[in-house]
Symmetry: C2
Subunit: 301 residues, 2 copies
């Protein structure tokens, strides 16, 4: 099935206890696309400025990532983000955000992408996510990410969005904020009451939780990583592995979702081993499958 | 196999967002004993003062908990602890600690308990744990708990203890402190190098991790509890379920340890549903087995 992602293409500067990576390629749509491409073709929609010096066709060489939806806007500047990771590698401080082209009109979904069946709306203002989603004719399965900023300041738009998607994929802190409830199981139920059928709670090094509106729950620990150099994009890689596997399977029943979450977990575990996209770029599907078996053995009793 | 626990018997005052329980029964050895008693007979060693008004024989009625090792010391006062749980129910502040009888000579292991095969040394000064362990003639499997206070101020004693036990069962914050390392997998390896063969890392609502010196890893999420009234003693109940199941099985291979950890997880999930020992007291082995199956289904893919 076709898989569309809308989201940022960024130039990141990342500081971790393991080193600094200046002006490297980043952005949710980029991480997502590379992660999903291990499983399925991907259609990318995003916008950069004319200062963008990376060649995404080269970055994605050998992968089925369609860049028709990537707009390079003249006289605009690419979105830039500078983040500092703390010693625990889970907490980070955003040192600087330059919205640049993201403060302008969003990109459009190209005609050729309008029949996309699986859609991931990476984190941005919910009004923009809604606008992008409206351009897709008859999506089969729509997942979205969001963040504290939109929960605090754009809650009405966000609640409109939640009624139009199938699955929300967000961090545990955002779950607690959106539900106004600390207990994650109760919070998940409160959020499911807002509209969609599925929620995936990302808990960083503690894994993830999937809940559906029927009360089914799946909990998976993170892969036990002893090599974490740069967690940037881990959540988008998780979503990419998850959505890529679903699009490939063409199914979204609970059992398929469980396996999809396991693949998302494993793909993210490769992404964090190196700066920017290097961790993902240097692995392959055979390694991913092998690590999936290890994760299964590590969690089965 | 026989199972011995040494540890505190306490009078607790517990404040949570769900209410206050004043002067209720608590203490690591008490929680552990009740949890372990679902699986195995338990021998309890602990000391109280003459102000102790609870009748442990009644508390443990119908359970095989041998109180021969419980000393009531005249003209001493029982250990008292007052704790305040924060909204997230994982973090707590100790408002008051009255060591009382714990500041005096520790209790002795009775003659009839010296042949104990499985031993759990609940949290106290490592020198006291060592003194108690020395009174057991030929233990088969020894597990111990410890805390930040001993890691910071009694590290030499603690490192002596770690060479004499088989399994350390501690919180993730203590793991990081003891290993001086944030990554839990690396930290576990560093601690295993200090002597024992097994470490179990307790992560509260995020479950637990078991590592052995061969590099085997087992990770289990917590049971998805939507009813948390009082987390006091959850860690000791986890250890109680774990050790009770091991003592009952008479085996400590990795597969048996995995199941033991799952039982510890489930028993703890009942303990936190009510104040003091009420959550444990109102369940039974059939409920525990049922919840174990649910936990298995919730984590399997």
């Amino acid at each position: 099935m076709s898989l569309l992602v809308t989201g940022t293409i960024a130039i990141d500067t990342i500081k971790t206890p393991h080193g600094i990576s200046e002006d490297c390629l980043g952005g949710a749509a980029v991480y997502f696309s590379m992660a999903a491409s291990f499983f399925s073709p991907v259609r990318l929609v995003g916008v950069v400025g004319d200062d963008f010096s990376f060649n995404l066709a080269e970055v994605f060489a050998g992968r089925d990532v369609d860049l028709t939806g990537m707009e390079t806007r003249a006289q605009s500047k690419t979105f830039r983000w500078t983040g500092l990771y703390h010693e625990n590698m889970d907490d980070r401080t955003t040192e600087r955000t330059e919205l640049n082209v993201l403060a302008e009109a969003p990109p459009k979904v190209p005609e050729a992408f309008k029949d996309s069946e699986y859609v991931f709306l990476a984190n941005t203002a919910p009004a923009i996510q809604l606008g992008l989603l409206e351009q897709v004719e008859k999506p089969t399965f729509v997942a979205a990410d969001t963040m504290n900023l939109w929960i605090q300041n754009h809650l009405t738009d966000l609640k409109t969005l939640l009624k139009k998607i199938d699955c929300l994929i967000i961090n545990e802190d955002e779950v607690r904020m959106l539900a106004d409830e600390f207990n994650l199981i109760i919070a998940a139920r409160k959020i499911l009451d807002m509209g969609m059928n599925l929620i995936v709670i990302k808990k960083g090094e503690s894994g993830s939780i999937l809940c559906n509106a029927n009360g089914d729950i799946f909990i998976l620990p993170a892969y036990p990583a002893d090599e974490v150099k740069d967690p940037t994009g881990a959540g988008d890689c998780f979503a990419g592995g998850l959505m890529g596997y679903l699009a490939k399977s063409g199914k979204t029943d609970f059992e398929t979702l469980k396996t999809a979450i396991a693949f998302g977990t494993v793909v993210a575990s490769f992404a964090i081993t190196d700066f920017s996209l290097n961790g993902l770029a240097s692995t392959n599907r055979a390694n991913i499958d092998k690590r999936l078996d290890m994760l299964r053995n590590t969690t089965r009793f």
